[in-house]
């Protein structure tokens, strides 16, 4: 695929600042961390959840448990995606019952991933509340879903490809946007 024009939209410092603010907001909104759990959507959502958890610990001293969720079994487009997604392990080492669940992902786009994640979490038990934290909201929702915590709002066109890179997964902290000639927007 031909790619053109790569723009940096979030630097390492901006990512860090955005996540710190989210960590503070989560604590404010949730009675100082009582019954709080973080569930990251594979794969970068888990990385972000891990960072949020250690930031929350730094701020408040609370140990917030982290779970990892693979949403592929709950997708609404299995028959449409070109290649079958590779399953990863869902590892949620705690009960979500009556918990305050913060669902974490890197980019919020159509909302379909979040819809799948909500179904997946509710299949595991009945949480007290589910809130959504994302590093980036790029708009273009196809479902009535909004985030409770947003690192940055980025107006984009559907033709653009947003790529979040994190040290743990990609060796560098940055968010870039690429203009693509071909339509290839994925979340």
């Amino acid at each position: 695929m031909e790619k053109s024009k790569v723009t940096l939209i979030q630097s390492k410092e901006e990512i860090e600042k955005g996540l710190k603010r989210i960590a503070h907001e989560i604590l404010e909104k949730n009675r100082e961390g009582k019954d709080l759990v973080l569930i990251g959507i594979m794969k970068r959502g888990v990385t972000i959840a891990t960072r949020l958890s250690s930031m929350i610990k730094e701020i408040s001293g609370f140990e917030i448990p982290i779970g990892a969720l693979d949403i592929n079994l709950y997708r609404d487009d299995l028959s449409e995606v070109a290649s079958q997604p590779v399953l990863r392990k869902t590892e949620i080492p705690f009960s979500v019952r009556d918990k305050r669940v913060i669902l974490v992902d890197d980019v919020l786009y159509t909302g379909r991933t979040v819809r799948a994640a909500l179904d997946a979490i509710i299949d595991l038990g009945r949480p007290c509340v589910i809130q959504l934290a994302v590093l980036l909201d790029r708009g273009h929702r196809e479902l009535p879903i909004r985030a409770d915590y947003v690192g940055k709002n980025v107006p984009t066109s559907r033709k653009e490809l947003i790529e979040v890179r994190l040290v743990e997964d990609d060796g560098v902290d940055e968010v870039i946007v690429q203009e693509e000639k071909q339509y290839a927007a994925t979340e």
């Binding site: 709950y74 299995l78 079958q84 038990g125």
Partner: protein
């Protein structure tokens, strides 16, 4: 990389990458069976037909549970109460089932190649759940899954397969799977039950049961198949158990971390003594648990698209 074929007929047809994909996917599926609500919506609206021409509890139930945990509709056909008793041929039964648009037909049949015949004439995915003495690929997949889970890797393991090698589709599928994944396979059994030139499959024939188990990491005992003609191949069950059965005394010559497997159903006191079957080294029930995860993985990979 997805699976290459629409069907799973043999282990022989699978590449190492395909086997690894199935095992990795099964690893992700296993957690679902431990939940309070043991169900995900992945195969909603898909239809699975279990067509069993031979008796089975484990395999049929395992496929049924696997399908249901993925939200597929599962229909069981026992041939003893179906049109098969009126003389319908396998091909005709297959075509009639196809006319009702299933996504998968799981077949067990006494004739080698039965699954292949269906696969060639139906557009549905065919899964071989055992065809005569040919192959039983899902059993081998759950066996290597269990070994990998316990030992970390299959490459370099020494696996002893003991019993009626000549009638065992489980043994044949396992030999293919273990060879592909780099294990060393040793076989042992009554000479009447070891096919001539079995070495050509890449296995070593042991000289005695102690020779077979001495350095084995895994001992796989095969069931004496009393429903096939195997009872004519040795003088008595007692003699079989004395020379070819696994018991506690024999196990003292095996490695300390040896694992004992058996595809079930076991003949207690014949090929395996109760103390071994119920003992700390036995993984027999774990194999059954893993069978569900492996079959969920296969159904997802074959029809979850």
């Amino acid at each position: 990389m997805p699976l290459q074929s629409k069907d799973l007929l043999t282990i022989e047809q699978l590449s190492v990458d395909e086997i690894t994909l199935i095992l990795d996917t099964a690893d992700s599926m296993k957690e679902i069976s431990t939940r309070d609500i043991k169900k995900v919506p992945t195969l909603r609206g898909k239809t699975i037909i279990n067509l069993f021409y031979e008796p089975s509890t484990r395999t049929r139930t395992s496929f049924e549970i696997a399908g249901k945990r993925l939200s597929a509709d599962v229909i069981n056909i026992s041939t003893s109460v179906s049109s098969v008793v009126k003389g319908e041929t396998l091909k005709d039964t297959g075509k009639n089932l196809q006319a009702m648009n299933p996504d998968t037909v799981v077949i067990r049949h006494a004739a080698a190649g039965a699954a292949k015949i269906l696969a060639d004439s139906l557009s549905a995915s065919i899964i071989n759940a055992g065809d005569g003495a040919h192959e039983h690929p899902t059993q081998a997949l759950l066996d290597v899954f269990t070994m990998r889970e316990r030992k970390g890797t299959i490459a370099g393991l020494q696996v002893a397969i003991i019993g009626d090698l000549s009638h065992s589709r489980v043994a044949r599928s396992n030999i293919h799977a273990l060879n592909k994944l780099g294990a060393e396979v040793v076989v042992y059994g009554p000479p009447t039950m070891i096919p001539p030139r079995i070495e050509m499959m890449g296995v070593r024939v042991a000289q005695s049961i102690d020779d077979a188990i001495r350095s084995a990491d895994v001992i796989m005992m095969l069931r004496i198949q009393l429903e096939r003609q195997s009872q004519f191949l040795f003088p008595s069950l007692r003699e079989y158990s004395t020379f070819f059965g696994l018991n506690g005394e024999r196990l003292t010559h095996a490695k300390e971390d040896v694992l004992i497997m058996h595809p079930g159903p076991i003949n207690r006191g014949v090929e395996i003594s109760p103390e071994v079957a119920d003992g700390p080294y036995a993984l027999i029930l774990e194999q059954v648990t893993n069978g569900v995860a492996v079959r969920m993985a296969l159904l997802y990979l074959l029809i979850g698209k």
